[in-house]
Amino acid sequence: MKANCYIKRNKVEVQDVPEPKLINGRDAIVKITSTAICGSDLHLVDGFVPSMERGDILGHEFMGEVVDVGKDVGNLRIGDRVVVPFPISCGNCWACANEMYSLCENSNPNAWMAEKMWGYSPCGIFGYSHLTGGYPGGQAEYARVPFADIGPLKVPEELTDEQVLFLSDILPTGYMAAENCNIKPGDTVAVWGCGPVGQFSIASAYLLGAERVIAIDRFPYRLQIAKERAGAEVLNYEQVDVLEALREMTGGRGPDACIDAVGMEAHTPGPMYWLDRTKQAARLETDRPFALREAIHACRNGGTVSIVGVYGGFIDQFPIGAVMNRALTIRTGQAHVQRYMKPLLEHIQNGDIDPTFIITHRMKLEDAPHGYELFQKKQDDCLKVILKA
């Protein structure tokens, strides 16, 4: 089968690889009809996540038709149309029992690797380096889905692939980011990053009752979508002083909650950016903290900083003093997708949200490398690339 594989830094290639087979009793095989490229895939290809090997199949946002089930999968049948969540979760451990699906204690066969890096291991993830288990990803024709009795969500025929595909990752991620803000009536939420997750964070913040949402980015086309499709007030950080603007816009208080939907490859204008790029190259620092620092400084006293952008290692100069002295709450984590899939599916069916607004490019799986390039370089006003079978 064809699959989009990591070759080396900044290079992916669609190659012919063997089709997956059932291994464990709770596995299923899904024939993939639609899949997408995630911003966090860019971190892999840009070389910021260790343990990638040549030939690893990428992709963790996918859906399709069940073509084979293991003997212990009771709730799925061949022919079912499902969306597959990116965290692989067993459903039986303490974390899964408490709905913290991205912290599943049993699904990472390389838990020892993650433990060395982070202390304990989170769940296994499709197509996200050997640190999270080395599972082949979903930018392919078929995928083996472990614990298929827990993860995949059956979706109704009347919704198109494009309408439900993002239940696999970015819609629940944006929603959890907003939920973590603990939004109360009258609240103002500021969102750094108008990529797909940022856009869904904006939409989710409104769904959860925010009075105002202010979005920050530097690409005019992304700010335009945030304004016209997601309904945010927008700030271009290359043109305005964001901290001052936020202070003035909120009557001197600061936003009640700040969402960092940027993550480890943050950008800032000026020489500080190049200092941090150098530090990264010399391995003195692994992640870039610009968006996070600004979000912390901007947040009102006692507010919440919700980190949903992906980080992997360490950042320099974290403003812990601001956090401590102003009693900020930090909430973060990989999205517990399984927790949100059903409620968000209902929102989609009710018309409360139309996730398709972020799709800008559709192409075939064979064109994945081109899709990566458009997405990475933000060319052709690219916001989200869908790959179809």
Binding site: D16, P18, P20, R26, N92, C93, E115, A282
Partner: protein, 353 residues
């Protein structure tokens, strides 16, 4: 005494697990500052590497900031050309120095110092033949660089050899080794005790074990699987059995590697299930190669126990052992393996057989 007091005492007392670990052994540490400087602590070759690193940084700074003075010091003519060369050399020195001081594996960077030394020696050598050099100073500088080269060679050689020796820990000592690991499993102590008490279940999750057969009279016959179809076998007996609380076993005389184990089951707080603690002791005879021990107890015995307990938890909680695809012989574009073939779970081995 109550369980928590017992646990505290174990970790704090002289006779606790830490006492029988050799001083250079540490539990797995999180990556970060500790690990980066882990290499710099303790052993002589790492202290030497650190010193060489700082020497490089200092020398590099001098060459970059005051190339004229350095030129005069070592006896070469002080002109724009030599200054330019010295600045470049200074840059190289700084890079080597920073590499040695900041990277977790400095061996390669120390080797880069050796390469630099060779370059320096040849430059100094040609300076000796130049007309307007201060020959006595050049000769002294050459002698100094030769001395440092010897140190660099010594250090990088030691570091390189240390890297490969770490795998089969030469720290397997002549006194007993103790491994202690704990895992919390979301099942009752009764269920877990029942599973472990039937020793025939152990190979399901202890990946180096091939089989454990009961022999009657609380004795059992254990077989391990080694690479290339080899086997090591021994007999063991049950020494303690408190239902739902504790199981202990001990190898019988005649075993190639004397070993014993003990597992306790204790209710975890709230609804978390059961805390399972395993202690494994083994005493390889003096002179036994690390490889033999590795065959019985896994390449990294400490890590192996942790992996086995993880597999135990998975079997009891989910009914299967998590795995991702590896290159099962002959795949053209293999998904790089998550685990080395000798450690694949049962299902894969059964299918590949």
């Amino acid at each position: 005494m109550p369980a928590t007091d017992q646990a505290e005492q174990k970790w704090n007392s002289q006779d606790g697990p830490q006492a029988s670990m050799r001083p250079t052994e540490r539990p797995t540490e999180p990556l970060g500052d500790d690990t980066r400087h882990n290499w710099a602590r303790g052993t002589g070759s790492h202290q030497l590497a650190q010193a060489l690193g700082w020497f490089s940084v200092g020398l590099g700074l001098a060459e970059l900031a005051a190339p004229g003075s350095v030129a005069r010091l070592i006896g070469v003519p002080d002109n724009e050309q030599t200054r330019g060369t010295l600045r470049l050399l200074g840059l190289r020195e700084m890079t080597s120095g920073i590499g040695i001081l900041t990277q977790p594996r400095p061996a390669g960077w120390v080797w880069s110092r050796v390469a630099g030394d060779v370059m320096d020696l040849s430059l100094l050598g040609s300076a000796l033949t130049t007309g307007d050099a201060r020959k006595d100073r050049v000769a002294a500088a050459t002698a100094a660089v030769a001395g440092v080269t010897a140190l660099d060679l010594l250090c990088s050689d030691q570091l390189s050899r240390m890297g490969s020796e770490r795998q089969y820990s030469q720290h397997e000592p002549h006194d007993g080794i103790l491994r202690v690991r704990a895992v919390t499993i979301r099942r009752s102590p009764e269920e877990i005790y029942r599973y472990w008490r039937d020793f025939r279940n152990l190979p399901r999750f202890m990946r180096n074990l091939q089989s454990v057969e009961p022999l009657g009279d609380n004795r059992s016959h254990w077989r391990t699987r080694g690479p290339v179809g080899s086997q090591i076998e021994w007999d063991a007996e049950l020494t303690e059995d408190l239902p739902n609380q504790l199981i202990a076993w001990q190898s019988l005389p005649g075993a190639m590697v004397e070993n014993s184990g003990r597992v306790t089951f204790q209710a975890a707080p709230g609804d978390r299930g059961t805390e399972v603690r395993v202690e494994l002791r083994y005493t390889p005879p003096a002179g036994m190669l690390g490889a033999k021990v590795a065959q019985i107890f896994g390449k990294e015995p400490k890590q192996q126990l942790q992996e086995d307990l993880r597999a135990f938890k998975q079997v009891l909680e989910t009914g299967e052992i998590a795995c991702s695809e590896g290159s099962l012989g002959g795949l053209q574009f293999p998904q790089a393996p998550a685990q080395a073939p000798a450690e694949l779970p049962m299902e894969i081995l059964a299918k590949a057989a």
